[in-house]
């Protein structure tokens, strides 16, 4: 194994069959649990249907089968779950790029111990909100969402598989033009391959039944090597063509994301009047703060007496979102959780992402990717 690229699949029959792309990721988790390298694996398991992904801690490798398969309609966030509830255990976690970015920022803030955690990255082309997905399938696919057994995002299409084994696909672009499809922050996201995890796994450029793995850190290299040596996965080298295809997919998606950034953060960015209308809706429920994986203060400045406004009117955006922005926007990873949980439908993530981009342009700091805190915190004389 001298290259950083390889193809892998499970040796275990069940995982090979049930897992996504040959079950390599599940097998790596199995290896980690069996060899007691970790005490738990944090991953998604299926809830009531394919639109319901529930963060689940697996402590027995026999239970890993519950977490097999990928879910694109489960926009979850692991960062806070780890920093709040799983700090004490040695953990492996399956991360989308935004999860990995949140974890990185929390590591930089000493809220997660990087020595205790294996980050198995999953390539991600974006997620769809569950209820949006159901409406979209009903409306555009003209299919009862309950009849869908599997969904997949591939080659710019959202593909569904039905109970009878048939497939139906539509172009994501068209769905997104209608206001459906991926979450808008996913549309703007240019981090498809989690290069801040230990390894990045996915199906781009791979052969059927195999997972394409990019090794990113020495820890990741050791991990894959260990899983292979202990007989959990088999590996082979990808063809040059496969590597090229993968690169191409990634670069096309990044280009698209930048287009969406221009669209949402510049061209169609809400005007000041529109923002005032949004701020007028705010009920100061703190959902945005509570969902933000970066906000970890035990005592939040926003709750200080000197920022309080009248109970029955919206808070002044300057000392509510303004203060929040001044605390965390440098590190905003555009995970979109704030927007997802806002009961008042305020597009909060947009202003945060826009400010992060301004900050990035000035300082070069890429949230969630750098090994250090934003330069704002630097003690240097510069």
């Amino acid at each position: 194994m001298d290259s950083n690229y390889l193809l892998a699949r499970a040796k275990d029959k069940d995982l090979l069959e049930k897992g996504e792309c040959g079950g390599a990721v599940s097998s790596i988790f199995q290896y980690l649990l069996d060899c007691n390298l970790v005490e738990g694996v944090l991953n998604l398991s299926h809830g009531e249907d394919i639109y319901d992904g529930i963060p689940t801690l697996i402590e027995d490798s026999n239970d890993l089968i519950e977490t097999c398969g990928s879910l694109h309609c489960a926009p979850t966030m692991f960062g806070e779950l780890i920093s709040k509830y799983l700090q004490d255990i040695r953990l492996a976690v399956a991360v989308k790029p935004c999860d990995a970015m949140a974890i990185k920022e929390l590591e930089n803030r000493h809220q997660i111990d990087s020595d205790k955690i294996y980050k198995v990255g999953l390539n991600c082309g974006g997620t769809v909100l569950p209820i949006t997905a159901r409406k979209m399938i009903e409306l555009f696919y003209e299919i009862d969402p309950a009849d869908v057994v599997k969904e997949e995002i591939d080659k710019g299409k959202f593909i569904i598989e039905l109970t009878d084994g048939s497939h139906k696909d539509l172009k994501i672009d068209d769905l997104e033009d209608e206001g459906y499809g991926r979450r808008v922050n996913c549309q703007r996201c240019e981090q498809m391959v989690p290069r801040n995890a230990d390894i990045a796994c996915g199906n781009w450029g791979t052969e059927p039944g195999w997972t394409f793995i990019e090794i990113i850190t020495p820890k990741g290299k050791e991990l894959v090597e260990g899983a292979r040596q202990n007989g959990y996965i088999e590996v082979k080298a990808p063809s040059e063509k496969a590597v090229a295809i993968r690169e191409k997919v990634e670069s096309v998606m990044i280009k698209m994301a930048r287009k969406f950034q221009d669209k949402y953060l510049e061209e169609n960015y809400p005007s000041l009047e529109e923002w005032d209308e949004y701020w007028n809706r705010c009920i100061k429920c703190y959902a945005c703060r509570d969902a933000c994986p970066l906000c970890y203060c035990r005592e939040c400045e926003l709750e200080k007496e000197f920022y309080q406004d009248s109970e029955n009117t919206p808070p002044d955006p300057l000392t509510f979102q303004g203060v929040r922005l001044s605390h965390v926007c440098y590190s905003c990873i555009n995970c979109g959780q704030c927007e997802d949980v806002c009961p008042m439908e305020i597009p909060v993530a947009r202003i945060f992402h826009r400010m992060q981009k301004k900050y990035r342009d000035q300082t070069g700091y890429i949230a969630g990717m750098d090994e250090e805190l934003p330069p704002l915190y630097s003690p240097e004389k510069e």
Partner: protein, 138 residues
């Protein structure tokens, strides 16, 4: 002070700018009375929230004065402030506040004249802009 005079909140570092204001005062240099000075121990103590709060409470302009680069009494406070100040300049327009309403300068304790001139300039520039009319109103 007449109604249409801009209200300025000035955060001044104890070791330099506050001294500069003092020097201007003892030398009887006239500077606009519009500025309400808040003495802080270091410009590195100022965070964006304080600037935001000042605007929320009705300031038409906010000024921050710190030591010249290299002169910080606490070694690097003004460097930290400078990074935050750049951010404040980016943030204010997002809430409809012109960034010219926010100004920061490096003024030493001996530079009474610089303090006087800065305040005059800032007041004149704010006067041109008129009082801060925020579109968000409750």
């Amino acid at each position: 002070m007449s109604e249409n005079e801009p209200k300025i909140i000035g955060f001044c570092c104890n070791w330099c700018c506050y001294g500069g204001a003092d020097t201007a005062g003892t030398a009887r240099m006239q500077y606009p009375p519009n500025v309400r000075i808040v003495r802080v121990m270091c410009s590195g103590r100022i965070n964006p929230s304080m600037v935001l709060k000042a605007f929320k409470e009705g300031a038409d302009g906010v000024f921050v004065g710190g030591c010249h680069m290299g002169d910080c009494h606490y070694d690097a406070g003004n460097y930290k402030w400078r990074r935050r100040a750049k951010f404040v300049e980016d943030l204010l327009p997002e809430f409809g506040i012109d960034k010219e309403r926010f100004r920061f300068e490096w003024i030493s304790a001996s530079e009474g004249e610089k303090f006087q001139k800065t305040m005059e300039e800032f007041r004149n520039s704010l006067k041109k802009h008129g009082s801060l009319q925020r579109s968000f109103s409750k």
